[in-house]
């Protein structure tokens, strides 16, 4: 039954690692603003330009 102690050891170490990551995240301001990031992902200029796309093979193309 030694194995469970080893696995608990590994699990605790992993959990500690995540805890440290959490502290780091809080310290570095990752959790300061919990509104803007959710919205910001939507603002990336990546709408493809409609060029060279005249060749329509099906009438029901999505219009995005």
């Amino acid at each position: 039954m030694n194995m469970i102690f080893m696995l608990i050891g590994f699990s605790i170490l992993l959990a500690l690692l995540f805890l440290l990551a959490f502290f780091w995240a809080s310290k570095s301001g990752q959790h300061d603003d919990l509104f803007t990031p959710g919205v910001r992902v939507l603002f990336e200029e990546e709408e493809p330009q409609e060029t060279g796309n005249e060749e329509k093979s099906d009438e029901d193309h999505s219009t995005r």
């Binding site: 194995m3 102690f5 696995l7 440290l20 959710g38 493809p48 796309n53 999505s62």
Partner: protein, 703 residues
């Protein structure tokens, strides 16, 4: 001051293609084995395509090839955009891509050849395990490199999910892969019996958590808001459920071992954490579904969002069912039945499959700068896929209940109502047919998608390097005053911190592992339990090669229905020489733990050679090749030596005598078969596997 740079879309495209190709391969193999369950002849008479060998191929292909490539596709696409940076290194990206594909190809070759370590969802042998470790580190290096050179200070929640995925999978894979090689493609796990089982399911359940769940939640948090053009319902909730999910998940593994010979406090630990898991899991599902608040009109028209909605619902169902199945009472009925198979497929087909399809439909037109070829076909894919899931899952739930209840039913006189296991199998064969139909529908949808996406790619042109621009990050933080103290400095250096923590993990692990390597931990608690004879050991390896463990368990639970059917329930001390453990996770056939001495050698010979003669209607395929292939005894010596290294008390110098003992035992079995008019040479594989089967459970049998 804005910097101009380019996103790498080519690597995303490559992973997308790999996702599609391996998806079709993995699901086709799944359909093939589904058909073998009602028509064993679908193995085409070949040992290389028989259920036991290709079932692991199906699971690994779907988990690591289909879902794996989809994860990398989603991560490479979203990470660059979320961090406003190109991937750290194009070369690492390429090594990652081709390395992963080579690993998959190696798996596709080795598993049908029977080169397997038999740990479920980690069957690949040790050279492939090492390759996986290297490529995983390449992936991580590339990802963290990108995170470091990011232009966006805040790391969006998706990235946190990706980081947790990388770190945990690395630890899981390494711990679960510690084996002692005996040849280029054969190894023994250093853990034995109960310990091996615990490691396997600690890994197995966390693979579900950190390969099939966390990266997909991350992708959901990026792609769903994009598709719906709505911010995530609650960013706060996403952060909260992320941290709680990764904290709790890591403990839930032992729920796979309820009622086994695992100590019961460990079982209870697994149950408690599994029940707690429902909160963070549903936090994710609810957050996803509520993101569509006010956008349901879009869902009506857009197949991508439909895929997302059903995917999230499937996630919710599977993660509701998971804690339920972890309750001991429910587990007592469900474990070893098709219920579990249905449960995982709701997750795999619904959650992983549908999210992958939605992302493919969204991403391919974008990186090809065009629009989707046909929305109608995508809609068709959605409906036939959903139908496929229903046709797959509902019959299997039905079959699971049927099995679970039939196994346990007693007559008023107190006898088993269905003493013959086969009766319970024959009942559910119609369900197996329905399941295969469901699988075929689902696969049809994927093929339609492939056609649709190829047409889309042809209509557009890959934007291999997509132009982007962003402000650089402000200058780095300069420590002042109190912050100059060491721990303060460390806290601001996540990379160093992670490396240091990993080193701590590994050192701690080694210290804790060392005792288990020694013989002391393997002292049997039951004095009558003896190591396997050389012939039995070789037979056991043939048993492992043929993947018998996929259908037969070797773990009798302490229920009256099971002790009545199979015999004395299993004790932890019986498995101390089992490297690896072979408890199985599904009973398509009866448990074999007490098989030894139940039937004569001739019965086993006939049953293996043609199961139908001994059990009419059996769905076990014939193993004719075992009677024709010669047993490889050149490996006996190294195997005995390896076992001794792992703590099995073979006498010093026994390896030199092993083969003559093996020969003696084999000749005795052959002579016994001869008496029953079965002519077979003593050097065939079938003799060895009979020897192993006859040994099972005899150690503690009352004479």
């Amino acid at each position: 001051m804005t910097e101009k740079f380019h996103y790498d879309n080519k690597i995303v495209r490559n992973f997308a293609l790999a996702t599609i190709i391996w998806g079709i391969v993995g699901m086709t193999i799944g359909l093939l084995i589904a058909m073998q369950l009602f028509k064993p002849a679908m193995n085409m008479g070949s040992q290389y395509t028989t259920f036991g060998r290709i079932r692991p191929l199906h699971t690994n292909a779907v988990i690591f090839a289909f879902v794996g490539n989809a994860i990398f596709m989603g991560v490479y696409y979203s990470l660059q955009r979320l961090l406003k940076a190109r991937m750290y290194s194009d070369i690492l990206s390429k090594i990652h891509f081709w390395g992963w594909q080579l690993i998959i190809i190696a798996t596709v070759i080795t598993l049908p050849l029977g080169l397997t370590s038999s740990h479920e969802y980690a069957e690949m042998e040790w050279p492939i395990d090492i390759a996986i470790t290297i490529i995983w580190v390449v992936f991580g290096y590339n990802m963290f490199g990108t995170i470091i050179k990011r232009r966006e200070k805040h790391m969006y929640v998706a990235i946190w999910f990706y980081i947790a995925t990388f770190v945990t999978v690395a630890v899981l894979h390494i711990v679960n892969s510690i084996q002692l090689p005996v040849s280029a493609f054969k190894s023994y796990y250093v853990y034995a019996g109960v310990q091996d089982a615990l490691v396997q399911w600690w890994y197995g359940h966390n693979a579900v958590a950190f390969f099939l769940t966390t990266p997909y939640l991350g992708m959901m948090y990026y792609f769903l808001p994009k598709m719906a053009n709505r911010p995530v319902y609650s960013y706060k909730l996403s952060i909260l459920h992320f941290w709680s999910l990764i904290f709790i998940y890591i403990w839930a593994g032992p729920h796979h071992l309820l009622y086994t010979s695992l100590p019961s406090w460990a079982q209870s630990l697994g149950v408690a954490f599994s029940v707690m898991l429902i909160a963070p899991s549903w936090g994710g599902m609810i957050n996803g579904l509520l993101t569509l608040r006010g956008a349901w009109d879009k869902v009506r028209e857009d197949p991508k969002l439909k895929f997302m909605v059903v995917g999230l619902t499937a996630y919710g169902m599977a993660t509701f069912e998971g804690p339920l199945l972890a309750f001991k009472q429910i587990n007592a009925i469900a474990h070893y039945t098709d219920w579990i198979v249905a449960h995982v497929h709701v997750g795999a087909l619904g959650w992983n499959g549908f999210l992958t399809f939605a992302i493919l439909y969204w991403l391919i037109p974008r990186i090809y700068n065009t629009t989707l070829y046909s929305v109608k076909l995508a809609s068709f894919h959605f409906w036939i896929g959903t139908l496929g899931i229903i046709f797959y899952a509902v019959p299997l739930y039905f079959s699971g209940f049927t099995q679970g209840l039939m196994w346990k039913e007693f007559t008023p006189e107190g006898l088993l109502k269905y003493p013959n296991f086969l009766e319970t199998v024959l009942q559910i064969i119609p369900m197996y047919v329905m399941r295969a139909i469901g699988g075929a529908l689902y696969l049809t949808g994927v093929i339609v998608m492939t056609y649709n996406l190829i047409k889309t790619m042809k209509a557009g042109k890959l934007v291999a390097n997509e132009a982007a621009e962003a402000q650089p990050l402000p200058p780095v933080y300069v420590a002042q005053g109190d912050d100059k103290k060491l721990h303060r400095m460390l806290e601001r250096k996540p990379m160093i911190f992670m490396v240091l923590s990993l080193i701590v993990i590994l050192i701690g692990g080694m210290i804790e592992m060392m005792p288990t390597f020694t013989i002391k931990s393997n002292i049997p608690t039951i004095a009558s339990v003896k190591p396997y004879t050389p012939l039995e050991l070789q037979g056991r390896d043939v048993y492992i090669r043929e993947g018998c463990v996929n259908c037969h368990s070797q773990m009798i639970r302490p229920f009256r229905s099971e002790t009545e059917r199979y015999g004395e329930y299993s004790k932890a001390g019986e498995f101390v020489y089992d490297h690896p453990f072979l408890w199985g996770s599904k009973r398509t056939g009866p448990d074999l733990q007490r098989e030894g001495g139940k039937y004569g050698n001739a019965w086993h010979y006939n049953h293996l050679y043609d199961p139908q003669t001994m059990s009419p209607g059996s769905i076990m395929p014939p193993y004719e090749w075992l009677a024709e292939q010669q047993l490889d005894t050149t490996t006996t010596r190294v195997k005995i030596n390896a076992m001794r290294t792992l703590g099995v008390p073979y006498e010093k110098g026994y390896e030199h005598q092993a083969n003559s003992d093996l020969d003696k035992q084999a000749k005795a079995i052959a002579a016994d078969l001869q008496q029953n008019n079965i002519k077979v040479k003593s050097d065939k594989e079938i003799i060895a596997i009979i020897a192993y089967l006859q040994r099972l459970g005899t150690d503690i049998k009352a004479k």
